[in-house]
Amino acid sequence: MTERYEVHEHDVLVIGAGGAGLRAAIEASAQKASVGLVTKSLLGKAHTVMAEGGIAAALAHVDPQDGWETHFQDTMKGGSFLNHWRMAQIHAQEAPDRVRELEEWGALFDRTADGRILQRAFGGHKWKRLAHVGDRTGLEMIRTLQDRGVHMGLEVYMECTVTRLFLDGGRIAGAIAYWRESGKLVVFRAPAVVIATGGVGKAYKVTSNSWEYTADGQALAFEAGAELIDMEFVQFHPTGMVWPPGVMGLLVTEGVRGEGGILRNAKGERFMWKYLPEARRNEYAASEEEARRWLDASVAGKQTDARRPPELSTRDNVSRAIYTEVKEGRGSPHGGAFLDISYLPAERVMKKLPSMYHQFLELADVDITKQPMEVGPTTHYIMGGVRVNPDTAAATVPGLFAAGEAAAGLHGANRLGGNSLSDLVVFGRRAGEAAAAYARGLGGNRPRIAEAEIEAEARDLAAPFERAGGESPYDVHHALQQCMNDLVGIYRTEKELERAIEELAKLKARAAKVRIVGTRIYNPGWHLCRDLRNMILIAEAITRSALLRKESRGAHSRLDYTNPDAALGKVNHCCVRAGETMRVSATPLPEMPAELKRLFEAAPQPVGAKA
């Protein structure tokens, strides 16, 4: 029996309406393409709203020494040089224009004393670089893009979940989705698809990610035959809430440390000095006195020769530091570290970190202007994702594009805070532009969707209602989250990763037999059945890639291989579908051209004029 479905036709279908998806849709629309923007949530609720600290761009408003070269250097160093150099270059060069563009579209960033966009310090960034709006930068960004898109007349399909991409002769032909509200099916005929679906954090138990982060885009791309790279690099943000249990994992913005937050252990020791990597120690203050001088100058908006505090080390490093302090018995009462901003005037804390103030007061009964916060690592971001062409954001399947967290390459082995918001708009714009050009270039030669594939997917989607036995998808999801938390977390070992592979195979078999009750009208249990399949698939990609990387680099830390391995620093791990199995192999990392390499020599010289 064939189920009825509605059909829509577009030149470009953008999946995901966060920063990257909206920016891609705006650009493709500006190129006169017919654009469909599909989101599994309501418009404006995407994960981008949760980004707090700011958007990184070398505007050089606060620190005039800044420029794209330094931003490029910081991004490459932060990513342990596993980044695609060209993506890092494009990103650093174009981010300032994208920030100015947001302002032209109505975004109201905080201001400097001379009336320009204010910038704050963040981990791993040499200069004060993050344009921000208090601690709700992502919200400002998504509202700005949302309003821009709505008034351009974008066609938005809200609460609509894409479950499969269709190919015709190896090229993208369209996609199928269901309306969450009614459970009815929708087929999109579109020769170009932009994946902008964000991350995978819901595969983990302790996470700062929202319900949407179920690895949809990575799984859709993988099943369509696209290559995924760097999947072993999952970022554990150092500062998530650890208490009370209901809010465990909830993000505490890095802006707290950017504004002067100090990390201490249960003995009152400011422990971050101990964990600075030797190679970068000279970039950080050597004493409490120097860190304080840096902060005072920062608050006063003045220049200083003092170096930044050790808390502003990169995220991978701060996460490991907190984890180690707790493991060695110096943790806070609920198994974290103390993060203290209460020594600053209460008025400043409330002005610069208002949502953190309310979050702790209302959810944890902690007044951060008077008491320290308790924080610990939380799953936050995946550096890996769909392999893309740096200039066009094109994936390895013709007609498929990817941008934002779902794409890989910019961040290498570890992302710097603030680089994700800029990633969204820089590569979102490029993806939208290239997708529109691709669709235009096809002329009348458009791929077609085979009816049999639509029917097969419709049957697959209906299956959980028709099974007689089978367990609840929620039980399988909880088991997956526990498995990933316990076996594929901050520190990994061969033994545990191998166990995870076995567990994931069992979970996959269980997920294939889940059963759901009720109707198709707004049924979250049914929605989870499909999300679960995506999460398990991508959990396997993470685990297999982690197993292969027998070294410690960036966010990937192995207890059995504690040092970086120079040979592995020259390869990405690439996951690709081979029939019903996953093939993982090492592929060479593109080599940086000589003029960019010179930036990393002893006394770096700027190349060319500032962008």
Partner: protein, 253 residues
Amino acid sequence: MSAAPGTKPAGAAADGAHATEAVLSVFRGDATGGAEVEYKVPVEPGMVVLDAVHWIQAHQAPDLAVRWNCKAAKCGSCSAEVNGKPALMCKSRMDHFPPGKPISVRPMKTFPVIRDLVTDVSWNYEINKRIRPFSPRPGAQWRWQQHDIDRAQEFRKCIECFLCQNVCHVLRTHELKHQFAGLEMHPIDGADRTLDLRDQSGIGLCNITKCCTEVCPEQITITDNAIIPLKERVVDRFYDPVMKLWRMVTGKE
């Protein structure tokens, strides 16, 4: 375990609290009707109503419909009426309700129910399309002081939870006031929305009962800082005799 010197460990007060049980009385039904169903839920320290709803989904009613995203009060998706009061479920602490009594959880009243706790809020998106977009004045300087934007930034904190709409007694005739304000108060915005405010949005109908301000989870003072100033703009333009004379004499708007 010792705390940092001179500091009180965060959350220490809640320590030792043992898991107890609460009863949630949740609306189950759709546009054709429904009723509240009671569920027993174990309570952990710091637990919020949304956690309890998730527990019910995972253990008792996998098809219980609820809209949520971030569970961090940043996305405004989980609006509902908890014990009759409009609130975000992710910010409603279980320990703030009287123990021993069922906690009632119902969908927002103003919007049509789709299923269980999920309502049709598409009307808000339709209204949003009708608000004239930000339009910078030609030749404007892109420089301004922080105090120039403090007011506009207040309204831009809006997370679109629609709780203010839910409690507004003249709903469907004057809406999204603070979004107007967020644009009208941009230092270099040049679009004229005054006529829209008077004719389409019915700003005159609001008799400033401040219900919207009371329920705003972002503490936006909607009535005092958005609606009243916008009312003043309409009054200055259309009803102030001195301003009318001034415009006649000078020919300026």
